[in-house]
């Protein structure tokens, strides 16, 4: 699949943004994050900025962005529509929660309830985004049980790393968030390795033989493509990545996305102070870069069944 930068950015940013909203919506009413209004403003602004920028970026991917509002109508059947509906719904209680926290300095009562509601809706939004990909049967590398847990874990991981940085600016010693962030990095890394092993060792039930009904006389191979030039299908679905690049890019994800953030977060945990803040910030930035590469690979490694008609023997 062609890794369109707008979608790579959208899924990375909105995953982190909604996960941060989830953490704040739960963390503030339960007293797990600094209660000050200034912290609330900074953290919620970052969450809304990430989620909003991601959604805006996804609109750039559209052929007719001015009609984007129509995407809220088909929530009965479409995961993409559900994602749109729930992402907007999330912002309603999140607005009450934000206004209550930032302007009235409270995270209890109704404001706290709205926070918890926003957290629940953010969870549903993240699930819907994952299901857009996991529901596509023609793409074996997406239509599997690892995709949604991976997306959740990576979103939560990046949100926790960002939260760890922010919390340190207000509370120099806050070991809880850092420990949780390291645990989430470990979980996300483990899930990503399971995902990679799964797509490396299995392939789709569809083959060139099942795609053409041929094969009774032996091996089926493409003789001539339908045309000498590229077409939309090949540009969009025929993107292929060289095996050696794939291995190198996975290495970058392991290093920048998981190993370095975990190491830097542990450093911040033990060093503290200004160096702790810098280490926590670097951990969040490194993870963000790692996740963008991970998301690019998620597209580049995905093989669509239509390529069976253009020379692929298995997908």
């Amino acid at each position: 699949m062609h890794p369109a930068l707008s979608i790579v950015f959208f899924t990375s940013a909105s995953g982190a943004g909604f996960a941060l909203l989830l953490l704040l919506g739960l963390g503030a009413p339960l007293g797990l994050v600094p209660p000050s209004a200034s912290f609330g403003f900074a953290a919620l602004a970052l969450a809304v900025l990430l989620a909003g920028a991601g959604l805006a970026s996804s609109a750039f991917h559209l052929g007719r962005p001015e009609r984007a509002w129509r995407a809220f109508s088909q929530w009965r059947s479409s995961w993409l529509s559900r994602e749109g509906v729930f992402s907007v719904l999330t912002f309603l209680p999140a607005a009450v929660f934000g206004i209550g926290w930032v302007f009235f300095g409270t995270t209890g009562g109704l404001v706290g309830l709205c926070g918890i509601l926003a957290a629940a809706l953010a969870t549903v939004t993240i699930y819907c985004t994952g299901m857009i990909y996991a529901s596509l049967r023609p793409i074996h590398q997406w239509h599997n049980q690892w995709v949604v847990p991976n997306y959740f874990a990576l979103g939560l991981m990046s949100a926790l790393l960002a939260l760890n940085f922010l919390v340190r600016l207000w509370q120099p010693r806050a070991p809880g968030v850092a420990v949780l962030a390291v645990i989430l990095v470990a979980v996300a890394w483990r899930l990503k390795e399971w995902y990679w092993r799964s797509i490396d060792t299995t392939s789709a039930p569809s083959t060139v033989a099942s795609a053409t009904l041929l094969g009774s006389r032996g091996k089926v191979r493409m003789l001539e493509p339908p045309h000498t030039e590229e077409n939309y299908l090949l540009k969009e679905m025929g993107f292929a990545i060289a095996r050696k690049h794939r291995a190198r890019l996975r290495g970058i994800v392991r290093l920048a996305g998981f190993a370095l953030p975990a190491f830097l977060t542990l450093c911040a945990l033990f060093v503290g102070g200004v160096f702790g803040v810098i280490a926590a910030g670097l951990a969040a930035v490194s993870a963000a870069l790692g996740i963008v590469v991970e998301r690019w690979l998620f597209f580049a490694e995905a093989k669509h069944t239509v390529t069976l008609y253009y020379g692929a023997e298995a997908v």
């Binding site: 052929g63 059947s77 596509l136 049967r137 023609p138 299908l233």
Partner: protein, 249 residues
């Protein structure tokens, strides 16, 4: 509405039957499709850079060529492919706007261009590559089964068929109601063991493909290099060879 219509008993399922045994790969159906549809229901079908390097454009029907088997047993099969108007079209259910829909009355899968946002998700959801994005208008386009021909009362009754079916010089394409077990196309599918493409994905395509007949050619046999083929009793006279071929069918 992108939810699928409730299937009814005796549901009409208009579609195509494509005979892989006799398609000669002339691409006439692709050309006729492009010509009709460029000014039809989904028109225009744009072409980009049509006279230069990297020409590409929107086509609803494309003819692939495959080879199966090895050596003497191998054969070439031309494989036309357009929208299969599936009974379970995920391209319709993934649509967030309701632009994609399956008609309750005849099962044709269409796109309402005026509300399509061009998110391309339907083209990802189609395993067969039936949908092509119009980068000019920013909307998705697809085969309409020539909905503007088959019901067109301005055309003579014998012309109310999809353009690809009309033009086929070898009669490899047939149009009809595959929901009616007594229809000509359904009987043809039953007689020739016609089948679905990628049935394992569960899209239940309405269009059926008739596999190449088995007995047309000698079975694949390994041929020793330099030696004449063992199983070739008649050599020499062209007439005799023809008679031999005729009799060994």
């Amino acid at each position: 509405m992108t939810s699928l219509p409730e299937p009814r008993p005796g549901q009409k399922k208009l579609g195509l039957v494509i005979d892989l045994d006799i398609c000669v790969g002339c691409h006439a159906c692709a050309t006729a499709c492009k010509e009709w549809n460029a000014s039809g229901h989904m028109g225009p079908l744009p072409d980009f850079n049509p006279y230069g390097d990297g020409a590409w454009g929107v086509w609803f029907n494309r003819i692939h060529s495959f080879e199966e088997g090895e050596g003497d047993g191998a054969r070439t099969i031309h494989f036309p492919k357009s929208c299969l108007h599936c009974e379970e079209p995920a391209c319709v259910t993934v649509c967030p706007t309701g632009a994609s829909y399956k008609r309750a009355e005849d099962g044709i899968v269409l796109v309402n261009e005026s509300i399509c946002i061009g998110c391309k998700l339907c083209s990802w959801a189609c395993p067969y590559g039936a949908r092509e994005f119009d980068a000019d208008e920013g909307v998705m386009k697809k085969c309409t089964l020539c909905v503007d021909r088959i019901y067109n009362e301005n055309l003579a009754p014998e012309d109310r068929q999809p353009a690809c079916v009309m033009v086929c010089p070898v009669n490899a394409r047939h149009f009809g109601d595959l929901g009616d077990p007594a229809s000509e196309v359904s009987e043809m599918v039953a007689r020739r063991s016609g089948g679905d493409l990628m049935p394992e994905l569960g899209y239940k395509p309405v269009n059926k493909y008739l596999p190449p007949r088995a007995g047309r050619m000698a079975p694949a046999a390994p041929v020793a290099a330099g030696a004449p083929p063992a199983d070739q009793p008649v050599t020499g006279d062209r007439l005799l060879r023809w008679v031999d071929r005729l009799l060994s069918r």
